[in-house]
């Protein structure tokens, strides 16, 4: 079923890009291997769920634009608050990278169960069950598709490219056109130098948290048009793939991360199908594929980025 594989490869590449590109940019600025990325995805999806239920029950229709804006704002705000409450004070104490990472794990647990509580309260307030929610159909998108003459096309085929391109465009626009954006890039390259040249590093870091978390939450919104069931475990189940891609990119080069996203999406979508039809291997080995690809990439061409980098050029050359 090559056509189906192609479609899902296309959709998953966009999804992974929307999460890993902001993740790598965020790492270069904040130096935090951030596990709360999983919460950003889930919070994006659940803002869409709560908004969809509320708007359907009181207005009878919902809107993707409003969902995107509110999930961007909600998730961005949470990220800024978590920076001010946890990561900024820790960074000021010059802690090692591992401590920042473990702090992001503690925050991941807290944010995850706060979401379970919020969906609990919403469920009993609206007397329905929101812990798992069905696929969301956006009315303003269906208007768009009808007018564009693509009637009957799966919503995800429109929403995924729309949001992915929008998020990449926003990122490009902010980073290259605006003064603040250039400051973000400067801090990304060298925060000491940036602060010397008069950039308010603190404000830029907060903006980066807001921007990257907001963009990541778009992946959660995209997910609601694609998956048959949305649960609070959405972000957690994507986190290992997302980190695999980020590490292939060495947590530093955006182009190599983009290539990693295409590679992993290709392996997952084509690999599973081909192996199962031609070699009869069970599809249950799919997660194994992802990790064997990572191990292969690490051994064949270890990335030289911040996270990678051979500790020393230590090659055992020929004797004579």
């Amino acid at each position: 079923m090559i056509t189906q594989d192609l479609i899902s490869f296309f959709l998953f590449s966009l999804l992974y890009l929307t999460v890993t590109i902001p993740l790598v940019l965020a790492y270069r600025v904040t130096k935090v291997i951030n596990f709360t990325v999983a919460n950003y995805i889930t919070y994006g999806a659940y803002t869409a769920v709560l908004l969809d239920y509320y708007m359907r029950s009181s207005f009878g229709h919902n809107s993707l634009l409003l969902t995107v804006l509110s999930s961007f704002a909600v998730t961005g705000l949470i990220a800024v608050l978590s920076n001010l409450a946890v990561f900024k004070p820790l960074a000021e104490m010059r802690v090692k990278g591992d401590v920042l990472m473990i702090a992001s794990m503690g925050l991941w647990i807290v944010l995850k169960y706060v979401l379970y509580i919020v969906s609990d309260i919403a469920s009993s307030a609206w007397r329905t069950n929101l812990v798992s929610y069905s696929q969301i159909h956006y009315d303003d998108i269906s208007l768009l598709t009808v007018r564009a003459g693509l009637v009957g096309v799966q919503q995800s085929l429109v929403v995924f490219p729309l949001l992915a391109v929008a998020s990449m465009f926003i990122l490009y626009l902010v980073l290259s056109e605006t003064r603040v954006g250039r400051a973000v890039l400067a801090v990304a390259d060298n925060s000491v130098l940036a602060s010397l040249s008069g950039i308010a590093v603190g404000r830029v870091v907060n903006l980066t948290w807001f921007l990257t978390a907001g963009l990541t939450s778009l992946a959660g919104v995209m997910w609601t048009t694609y998956s048959g069931a949305i649960t609070p475990e959405v972000g957690d189940s994507l986190i290992l793939q997302v980190f695999t891609i980020a590490f292939i990119g060495g947590l530093s080069s955006l182009t190599r991360t983009a290539a990693g996203a295409l590679l992993i999406s290709g392996v997952e979508n084509f690999g599973t199908d081909l192996l199962s039809t031609y070699l009869g291997l069970p599809t249950s080995i799919k997660p194994m594929l992802t990790f064997t690809v990572l191990l292969a990439t690490l051994i064949v061409s270890p990335p030289l980025g911040v996270a990678g980098g051979v500790p020393y050029r230590f090659t055992r050359g020929a004797r004579r």
Binding site: P89, I102, G106, L298, A307, G308
Partner: protein, 330 residues
């Protein structure tokens, strides 16, 4: 009324098994090995123990039954109830085999990891753990998704459960003592200083004349061996294991315990382990009695565990009991 003795025995058994893991991780972290694949060696030990604990008694009693169908499992229960000698010898054999298999695996794994940076070392080991878990899930002789059941607890032949639990606790804490002795002896010695040098600047350690890849592989082999032993202790305590018990969340818990205690600090690692394990277990006795039915009270327990981690990190970033510097103890 709370059965305080039962509470303490269960809690200290969990703390004991976690301590073997966090002490070995403390040594690994202080020698620059960011081991995100702790659960891989842990699972390897558990599966080695389970394989020996089920196939061997069945083979010895000459029965044809496989350890995955009902009568095989019933036979294992009756065997473990009736002859103590077989139980104990199978248990000791599993501990030795668990150590050997995990140590060998640790040795093999140093090759791919000593050529990449520390965060990547972590992720390589993490993915190896996941590959292993999926290997168990798709291998018929390892029980696939059923996993193993009826692993004979070494003290199953004892009449009352309390006695068996207490004896098992003693065995667990023997290994805690052994691990503590080894980790503290190594860290408080010239080798400990070399390991810390390797972690901070591997090139300088090399120029000081120390073959850092060889030292790393020896350390990882030793710590992986003890992680495998912890896996065997876990498998025989649970008497049933399956692949989904060995997910990365266990590794992150152990990391949280070590970082909470303070890197390089053995006492800190112990404190971090005792704190987190106790909060997680003891909260079960308080949380369900908060009267709200609007929200599941148990979610609060998870939030408390997360908040404790954050508060301790923010208040004492260098950890609960940071290691005072100074020359290694003469």
């Amino acid at each position: 009324m709370i059965d305080v003795l039962g509470f303490l025995i269960t809690l200290t058994t969990y703390i004991g098994i976690y301590l073997v893991l966090s002490l070995t991780l403390t040594l690994e972290v202080s020698s620059g090995i960011t081991n995100f694949g702790k659960v891989a060696f842990y699972g390897l030990g558990a599966y080695t123990g389970a394989l020996i604990g089920t196939y061997l008694p069945l083979a010895i009693t000459g029965s044809r039954a496989s350890p995955f169908d009902v009568n095989g499992i019933q036979l294992l229960y009756t065997i473990s109830k009736s002859n103590p000698v077989l139980d104990l010898s199978v248990f000791l054999l599993s501990l030795a085999a668990g150590f050997a298999v995990s140590a060998l695996f640790g040795l093999l794994l140093t090759y791919p990891i000593h050529r990449v940076g520390s965060a990547l070392v972590g992720f390589t080991l993490l993915s190896t753990g996941e590959v292993l878990r999926l290997f168990y899930l798709n291998t018929e002789p390892l029980g696939e998704s059923k996993g193993f059941m009826g692993i004979p607890n070494p003290f199953a032949w004892l009449p009352q459960a309390r006695g068996a639990e207490a004896l098992y606790l003693i065995i667990v804490w023997c290994f805690v003592g052994l691990t503590y002795f080894i980790v503290s002896r190594i860290m408080n010695s010239p080798l400990g200083r070399i390991l810390k040098g390797m972690r901070d600047d591997e090139l300088v350690a090399l120029y000081a004349g120390w073959p850092t890849p060889l030292i790393k592989s020896k350390v990882l082999a030793l710590t992986s061996g003890f992680t495998g032993v912890a896996g065997v202790l876990w498998a025989y305590y649970f008497t049933s294991i399956n692949p989904n018990m060995f997910t990365p969340s266990l590794t992150f818990n152990i990391w949280a315990m070590v970082i909470l205690g303070g890197i390089d600090s053995i006492v800190g690692g112990v404190l971090g382990t005792v704190l987190l394990a106790s909060v997680d277990y003891a909260a079960r006795f308080v949380i369900p009695f908060i009267g709200t039915t609007l929200v599941t009270p148990d979610y609060l327990r998870w939030i408390i565990v997360g908040l404790v981690m954050l508060v301790v990190l923010l208040k004492k970033p260098e950890g609960l009991a940071p290691r005072r510097g100074g020359v290694s103890k003469l």
